[in-house]
């Protein structure tokens, strides 16, 4: 009836693991307009700070998202530690790096699978997640949880990992690395994938920067920026360089994340090897008073915690700006002009996490 096709994409849509909605306006299958609507996961958890003890907010922060949960809790803890000027034991700092990087590996593998799936490549999805399960095993063995680690706390970490388990972890990652190489090799070298993604979802370097893209999206457009270079936790003491690609399209984002898997495995090794002995937490007493803007690198990019404390056990402001939130404008920019079949992969190319975005 109309001159254009108008369809709802989400909130319940099988290629979207999470509820988010796009109004797609199309001519044949070409997208002429894509307007997002958010809010299906907005829980309003920032306001919980007014009710909950700042110590308990760690539990809230790590449940902002079940995929990048550990880094949330680490960012929050570090922010409070900064305000309270708490010196966190070194061993805890290294353990934090280890878990943060494990979280990145599992997140990126999860993403590779979902991206394959968005291309209708079910078997590649299956194999990516098969390998991811191995990472989850390591995570569970070291932290006690599969997706919600629950190990970070203000003043350090909740549990230590013994030497034998660390050794085993190293071995497991040798195996995981080989498997990841195979997955990445298939993904990057597959002709049908190439046919589908080459030149899709272009975001120029200037656009990426101007629209505030972060994380792999930004780095795949040729901008070198990785919050880990700020040196929080033990990152300042490890050797690594941000992964940067210049393709500005979906394959470049695939490549960045693929390479980051190996970078993370490298960081895990370094962290375990350099990890000093000692306590893993310090006792923190009193209430925070002050303000900080904490930035860390999540699998999806720069995460910002803006914390204002007023000396009571309840924070004045617990504000979280997540990487996906920052990547929404670039996404809106990328969609028009693409084909319907490319919508899933373009949306997934920013590795959207709506629960993070909407909190």
């Amino acid at each position: 009836m109309g001159t254009r096709t108008v369809i709802p994409f989400g909130p319940q849509h099988p290629v979207l693991p999470e509820p988010v909605h796009l109004d797609l306006v199309m001519e044949d299958e070409k997208i002429v307009e894509a307007i997002p609507s958010l809010g299906y996961v907005h829980r309003g958890l920032e306001k919980l700070a007014a009710k909950k003890d700042f110590n308990d907010m760690v539990f809230v922060s790590e449940r902002i998202c079940g995929i990048c949960s550990f880094i949330h809790s680490m960012a929050y803890s570090t922010a409070i530690e900064n305000i309270m000027k708490v010196e966190v034991p070194e061993r805890a700092q290294y353990l934090r790096v280890m878990w943060a990087e494990m979280s990145r590996v599992h997140s990126h593998l999860l993403w590779l699978g979902l991206a394959a799936d968005a291309l209708g490549y079910e078997s590649l999805f299956m194999h990516s997640w098969r390998v991811r399960e191995k990472v989850l095993d390591v995570i569970e063995e070291t932290s006690g949880g599969r997706v919600i680690f629950g190990t970070c706390k203000i003043g350090g970490v909740r549990r230590d990992v013994d030497a034998a388990t660390l050794d085993k972890t190293l071995k497991m990652f040798d195996d995981i690395e080989v498997e990841c190489q195979e997955i990445v090799h298939v993904f990057a070298g597959d002709p049908s994938v190439h046919k589908r993604v080459a030149g899709v979802g272009i975001l120029s370097k200037d656009d990426a920067y101007a629209l505030g893209a972060v994380g792999p999206v930004l780095r795949a457009s040729g901008v070198t920026w990785d919050a880990r270079k700020l040196g929080y936790a033990a990152y300042g003491k490890l050797e690594w360089e941000p992964v940067v690609e210049t393709g500005c399209d979906v394959p470049a984002r695939v490549l960045v994340r693929a390479k980051e898997i190996f970078q993370s495995i490298g960081l895990i090794r370094q962290a375990i090897k350099k990890m000093p002995k000692g306590p893993v937490e310090v006792r923190v007493t009193g209430n925070p008073n002050g303000e900080t803007i904490m930035r860390v690198e999540q699998p999806r990019g720069e995460l910002v915690y803006h914390i204002q404390a007023n000396g009571t056990k309840n924070l004045a402001r617990f504000r979280v700006r997540t990487p996906t939130f920052a990547n929404i404008p670039p996404l809106v920019k990328m969609l028009p002009g693409c084909e319907l079949a490319d919508v899933p992969i373009i949306v997934l190319s920013i590795d959207p996490c709506i629960s993070c975005t909407e909190r």
Binding site: H127, E141, T142, G144, I148, G150, R158, E182
Partner: protein, 127 residues
């Protein structure tokens, strides 16, 4: 490895599936695994510390009736209660709590016998 996807899938088909045939085959739990909160009610003195520290209000301690109740459907397995209790009554077990058909089945109440130590922990519902 050089064969790309065909190599990968064919090799998979030749090998045993990666599947763990749950429920026939159950992987032993890691000692760190957080499965569910167990309670040794005999040791409890009903100080309510755990209740205070539980971020979800899953624990209800009743000093008068000497009961300690946990709502499995509220517990987020954060171990705050385990850490809070000075008498080490709640512990984190590695097995997970089973699904239930009615919401109220998930309220698990532990009652301390009148004379501590003489009778084992009573448990209503499934733990």
């Amino acid at each position: 490895m050089k064969l790309g996807m065909p190599g990968m899938v064919l090799r998979s088909a030749a090998k045993k599936p990666a599947t763990r045939r749950f429920p026939a085959e159950i992987r032993p739990a890691y000692s760190a695994t957080r499965g569910h909160v167990a309670m040794d009610i005999a040791k409890c003195n009903f100080c309510t510390l755990c209740q205070l520290r539980c971020p979800t209000g899953a624990i209800v301690v009743n000093k008068q009736e000497k009961t300690w109740q946990i709502d499995r459907m509220r517990c987020i397995l954060c171990t705050a209660c385990v850490g809070a209790c000075t008498r080490k009554c709640p512990t984190m077990e590695t097995s997970y709590a089973p699904p239930v058909g009615e919401r109220r089945e998930s309220l698990v109440r532990f009652t301390q016998a009148a004379v501590p130590g003489t009778s084992p922990a009573g448990e209503a519902g499934r733990a």
